[in-house]
Chain length 308, copies 2
């Protein structure tokens, strides 16, 4: 019987039934508890909201399994010497694809003008076809790759950019500093799905925002700090960027006095693009514990140097 | 040298260059003219806006090729004894898929609440996954099939209904009167892409609208008369239907005094879901003329009895 410490108190209600069931379905004899003597804990289930900050006493813990895809709030914790795994939840990928494709098509089709049309204007302007609307996805991890492929499946010409060179079928893949400039040049829709690391902060800044097609749309369902907020507001002011639809922010909830809220060319969505579903996340955790117990390599293990 | 009469004066500007080029590319020696003695005309290019109504004098005309997918304004013309072909334009299919998927995701994700959010409310309610949102597509012609498959590709459970039984991979196909009731029962999004025939008028009426899930969304990019307007307004009033996004209407442009314009649960788009692009449509026409000249069967030929 192994001991699994569930160290995310505010999520206990969602997981208290489904996680033990997923473990049992995976053939693992485990007790899932909210409290335990540290030296008895085999696995820790973690979320950024967890009060747990000192991992030193967890001497027999074989892995810390995050419920979140983004691990920037734990990866720099010096007391964490145990293996750390990110959540790569198929339902999280699905909901991210739905948000990204939905907002990409919304801007592509110009849907806003029909939703808010107080003058009842019948103006049959036909948008270009998706095949003539270049889209660039920054970040080709599990989420970025799935979004790039879904957009390509709808005929958008998709360029993907990542730190290291990737290969994704149907997507033009670029990497490196020059590749970033090339990927942004002429893009009409830019999706930011990079991990948050010191190296990715302000990837979209005054310099890079100037490379897109004039009037381009920015979709950020990744991390707030990927964008220099002030540079984005400037680019919206000049019309270089036509609209920004943002799901993530440097401070969340987005403060009421932030300029994004009232800006007519910014849409705020409240960090809902991708949400971990307890049922499918529990299956991912159970599989990783099963692998660890069987001596197999963990899935989605975080590289401490890269930060993801 | 064959003679092609271009009988859609208001579209001449779009086609005057690309259609002769498409014919030449297909190896056909043809003159494309806006006026000709009827007895010298080999093919007629037709649009509903064409003043041409009497086809009797076109004694050697081998086919009438419509620039529109919907042919209800010509199919009942008794003077038309020549073969009639609908336009099935790949770019038309693409733009239809983009409109349908874009509006389906818009409603699925609840995007409107973020576009119009004057109170700046941060309310992180996560929508269900597409896999838990049943969608029904009425009509499995070229357009309906393409839309059904694109929606299924985004994980929506898709049911398709057509007059005669079809088989579409990844889509649950139903047919007949009982099949229609089954297809609508519990549907959360209904897309109407049936041809306009006497048999399809008011397919969505008080009786059938009562079958959907409560609060379902109707997307009509097909034909206005597929829906009983008064029944739809009633269903929106009771909340049985949550929203209707309509691209086509019994009278177009939609008259300013029509209740749809001001209704807070109706979005009007101005017949833009699918538009024939001159360049790709010219390719389709050239291919059909090539086939006719080579003695091969015409593509997309209309069945006069069925009306499409």
């Amino acid at each position: 019987m192994i001991t699994v410490l569930f160290a995310a108190p505010d999520l206990w209600g969602e997981y208290s039934d489904v996680l033990p069931k997923a473990l049992s379905d995976a053939g693992i004899a485990a007790q899932v508890v909210q409290d335990a003597a540290p030296e008895t804990v085999d696995y820790i289930i973690y979320a950024p909201s967890a009060p747990l900050q000192d991992f030193t006493p967890f001497t027999r813990t074989k892995a810390v399994l995050s419920l979140w895809a983004g691990v920037e709030r734990i990866v720099g914790n010096d007391t964490l010497t145990q293996p750390l795994c990110r959540m790569v939840d198929p339902s999280l990928t699905e909901s991210m694809v739905e948000w990204v494709v939905g907002h990409a098509l919304r801007h592509h089709l110009g849907i806003d003008a029909h939703i808010v049309n107080p003058g009842h204007v019948w103006n049959p302007v036909v948008p270009p076809l998706a095949r003539n609307r270049p889209v660039t996805v920054l970040g080709l991890g599990a989420l970025g790759t799935a979004c790039a492929q879904a957009l390509a499946g709808l005929n958008f010409p998709v360029t993907g950019w990542s730190r290291t060179q990737k290969s994704v079928s149907g997507v033009k893949c670029l990497s490196g500093e020059d590749g970033l400039r090339q990927a942004l040049t002429g893009a009409q829709i830019v999706v930011t799905l990079l991990p948050r690391t010191p190296g990715t902060e302000n990837t979209l800044n005054a310099d890079t925002l100037a490379l897109t097609a004039r009037g381009a749309v920015i979709l950020n369902p990744g991390r707030g700090p990927l964008i220099d907020d002030a540079a984005l507001l400037d680019a919206l002011e000049t019309g270089q960027i036509g609209h920004a639809t943002l799901d993530v922010f440097r401070v969340e909830p987005l403060p009421q006095d932030h300029a994004f809220w009232a800006h007519r060319c910014v849409t705020v969505t409240p960090h809902i693009a991708a949400d971990t579903r307890a049922s499918s996340a529990s299956g991912v955790i159970a599989e990783n514990i099963r692998r660890a117990e069987a001596g197999q390599p963990l899935l989605h293990r975080v590289d401490r140097v890269l930060g993801y």
